[in-house]
């Protein structure tokens, strides 16, 4: 009897591992392929694998004004949006966490609700709004849209790190003579700093690679790198996009590593009560 159970267990174990392996392969395959193809020396899109390697597509990417303007715009836009969103998100999180605010849960849910709205709709809605009030400047529209996109994330991350800071610490500061503002800057902020910065980095990364939102809000003068890439993709499917993708991937990976160093990825995902 135990023999069949053992066999069952073995099959279970094997298929489990196999499934994991398969999923990992499926998730990694496109990325690996793209990276390899980005070094393809051929000047046309030929079959995999590339016979010869070169940096040509990277040179094409970095030498292309269209992409470089987009890159610059993206960096500026995402930085500004992330900073605004972090300030707003931190302000809201601090007030909601430290004090008894009426309808706290409702306000919290409200501030997190953009997470549920498809980004396309956010983009479209901001566009509708902007058109109807006469704002035609692409950059302004983009900032508006990206701030709303990012704020729920900065709010959530800051709230998560504030929750870990005991209420008694703020109260101790208050009873020792600090007013609310001083208590925040002296006690809460230093302890929440890593969480806040993590939110900033997270917001920046999300804003940087966001395309469906930007697609509705850009104008010929201000477009983002993802918009440039998407437009090129629909016009001509070439390998400059592969090198662009790899550049973005490397950038994002660097940001994730920075996040891990600062904050610890475990906190980003939340591991439940029973970590084995």
């Amino acid at each position: 009897m135990s023999g069949t159970k053992r066999v069952g267990d073995a099959i279970f174990g094997c298929s489990f591992a196999a499934l994991l392996l398969l999923t990992a392969a499926l998730l990694l395959l496109p990325i690996v392929m793209t990276t390899i193809m980005s070094f393809d020396n051929r000047d046309f899109l030929g079959r995999f694998p590339p016979p010869d390697v070169s940096w040509r597509w990277y040179r094409a990417f970095f030498g292309d004004d269209y992409f470089m303007t987009g890159l610059r715009n993206s960096l500026v836009l995402s930085l500004i949006a992330a900073v605004i969103a972090t300030t707003a998100g931190v302000a809201a999180a601090v007030v909601l966490d430290r004090y008894e605010v009426p309808a706290k849960a409702l306000i919290s849910a409200f501030l997190l609700s953009p997470l549920v709205v498809p980004t396309v709709i956010l983009g479209f809605a901001v566009l509708v709004f902007a058109s109807l009030i006469g704002v035609t400047n692409g950059f302004t529209r983009l900032i508006g849209g990206h701030v709303i996109l990012v704020m729920p994330y900065t709010f959530r991350t800051t709230l998560a790190s504030l929750v870990g800071i005991r209420r008694s610490l703020t109260e101790a500061a208050l009873i020792l003579g600090a007013n609310e503002k001083q208590a925040f800057w002296d006690i809460t902020f230093p302890l929440a700093k890593t969480g806040i910065v993590a939110g900033l980095v997270l917001g920046f990364a999300l804003s940087f690679e966001e395309v469906s939102l930007s697609l509705f809000l850009f104008d010929p003068a201000s477009y983002t790198l993802p918009v440039a890439i998407l437009s090129t993709m629909r016009a001509q499917f070439n390998l400059t996009l592969a090198s662009a993708s790899v550049v973005i991937m490397v950038f994002i990976i660097l940001l994730v590593v920075m996040l891990e160093r600062l904050f610890g990825l475990d906190k980003v995902i939340g591991s439940g009560l029973y970590k084995s």
Binding site: S168, E171, A172, L174, L176, A178, N179, D186, L191
Partner: protein
Amino acid sequence: MSMVDVSGISKSFGPLTAVDDVSFTVESGSCTALLGPSGCGKTTTLRMIAGFEAPDKGRIALGGRDMADKRPYERNVGLVFQDYALFPHMSVAENLAYGMRRRGVAKSEIPERVRRRLAQVKLSGYEDRRPSKLSGGEQQRVALARALATEPEVLLLDEPLSNLDAKLRQELRGELKCLLETVGTTTMIVTHDQEEAMALASRIVVMNRGRVEQIGAPREIYDRPRTRFVAEFMGRSNWFVGRLERRPDDGGLLFRGETGESFAVDDADGLHGPVDLAIRPEQLEIVDAETPHALAGKVVTSEYLGSKTHVTVQLDSGSVLLVIFNKSGRGEAVVGDLIGVRVPRDGCILLPRSGPVPTAPA
């Protein structure tokens, strides 16, 4: 003059009434304990005195000044939190200095005052340590030093010894009492531990379910509790239900229990008729079975606990009593022994009848 004057304060959180019409005063320089089980409202009361919550009704005055609408930092109060709340990103010295800086003490004076306070709590040289590297007892002392550093009018302590293990608690209790007496600040302690309250405070406010049950000196509260709750909370009791009568021969008081026991009691503060009677286990004495005026019974259990022995006795009348005696008492009490229990005339707690009493020692 009273440094703390609390009159008629009440506080509710939604449908829950945490504090209900509580009033008491604390004399300048004295130490008062708010004592009661969890949920009795003592912590809420403390928080209202500190300024973290505002009372729905009533008035709080510190040093004669009404504290309505005063934020915590506008009150001259020191608070030692239950979890100590030491700032983890600051050193011990910086923790102590924080209150002084915020209250405008001259920068040049601060290091010397920090040094003196640390010496006062026997932590000299700890200036540069981090709170996370301190033991529980050390953290507690730093928290105390920090609260005293701002030279407050009133010092509040929230369960100061609960986070420490039993042995440490006893040690630090003595040190704490010494320190409080040396410093002389008006002090209020919130605790659920009646030993702590009795050891440290000169007056105890016993609270239950948001209300004040009794206010008095420790001895008064222990020997003469005025309600059933206080009697049961302050220590173990053996309860009897019965009547107080006058003896025909000499006019002395006699207690006649419903379960059949009867013994003489001393002055009962004018009580007469139906009463509840409680006797502390350590007041009872185990004597030989034949001793006159002793209640006859049999030893049911006997627990030797080193410094004391706990014995439960089943009386012939059926009641079960708990008797506690230390070494200088009877010696061994073996299970099954037939013995007598002597009730001291002046050792009984008498309360007007108020419903069923526990049949086994509480």
